[in-house]
Subunit: 188 residues, 2 copies
């Protein structure tokens, strides 16, 4: 093992994101990421399985946050209220990393394989939310619909947040998008 | 070119689905599919690029049906009413093929690569619906939300339809699921 480096994981993420934006994801090597961060490739592999992992390491933590929030919602909350609480937790976690999120989004949008990976992560998030709702006693199809609707709100709100020149927080935009979905479905 | 075979495409689809259910998707070869259909591998490749294509050839036609239905909805229809009309058209197309749909679903559920491919097709369908709504003058985020909500309804209703021992039609279950989504979002 090499010597301990302060905040190696954060420096590697930062360096990777810079290079992905500058050169494109495919054109960037792990050696270049490590060099930009002032670390070795060996250190890189202590934190990430590969260069794709830098972009998706946060997804598992995001899922944990969402599910923990869902589970701490009072039993009296409706399925969509519980989902909204989970989205609030996601907004709190991601909200502090707008610049990172914005760059990550542009890197993923530019690469078909990464877009597919992101779809899979979102489907996994939806499945975890639905399972969490079923554990709260919500019926099967209600749980699936509420979870899918929640992920739809999450995606649309997230894209607006990273895409718009706005100072408004992600949580505010998520709540707005949920209201928007409510208005859309009411008019059908 | 070999001689013309009546309904070769349908016979190949049928034979492929039988083998995928019996042996699993990965264990089935194109040669076996052709043999089961009483045709040659050469004929198979005249209709399908590969054995995966048998499962997804319908997706492009489904997208065309959905978009055509969306576009023929009166301009006065709300975004979700237009989406509901598109879902009705999907139900009409898929509704006659319940047994095929049921087997296809079980084959896809058993294979990670096929599940990912299905996710991508669903995302493409959602993107096409959103683009269709924007062409009707629906604002960007409303179009995305309505399309994603529509696909959520489609997926949940489709799973109920193939999974439940029911004589009810897919269109009926889709309308019910849309009402269910309306009730869920209203209670948030």
């Amino acid at each position: 093992m090499g010597r301990w480096e302060p905040n190696a994981s954060g420096r590697l993420s930062e360096a990777a994101m810079e290079l992905y934006v500058e050169r494109g994801f495919e054109q960037t090597t792990v050696a270049e990421i490590a060099q930009r961060a002032g670390l070795t490739a060996r250190t890189f592999f202590r934190y990430f399985a590969d260069k794709r992992e830098v972009l998706f390491a946060g997804s598992a933590i995001l899922e944990e946050h969402l599910i923990a929030a869902l589970e701490s919602t009072p039993a009296s909350a409706s399925p969509m209220e519980a989902v909204a609480a989970a989205l609030d937790a996601a907004a709190t976690m991601l909200g502090q990393r707008r610049e990172f999120s914005r760059r990550r989004q542009s890197v993923i949008a530019a690469n078909a394989e990464l877009r597919e990976r992101e779809l899979i992560k979102m489907a996994s998030l939806s499945g975890a939310l639905a399972a969490g709702l079923r554990r709260r006693g919500v019926a099967d199809s209600d749980a699936s619909l509420a979870a899918e609707a929640g992920i739809a709100v999450f995606r649309v709100a997230f894209e607006r947040w990273v895409g718009e020149p706005t100072d408004r927080g992600l949580a505010t935009i998520m709540r707005e998008s949920l209201e928007q979905l409510k208005a859309l479905t009411a008019a059908s």
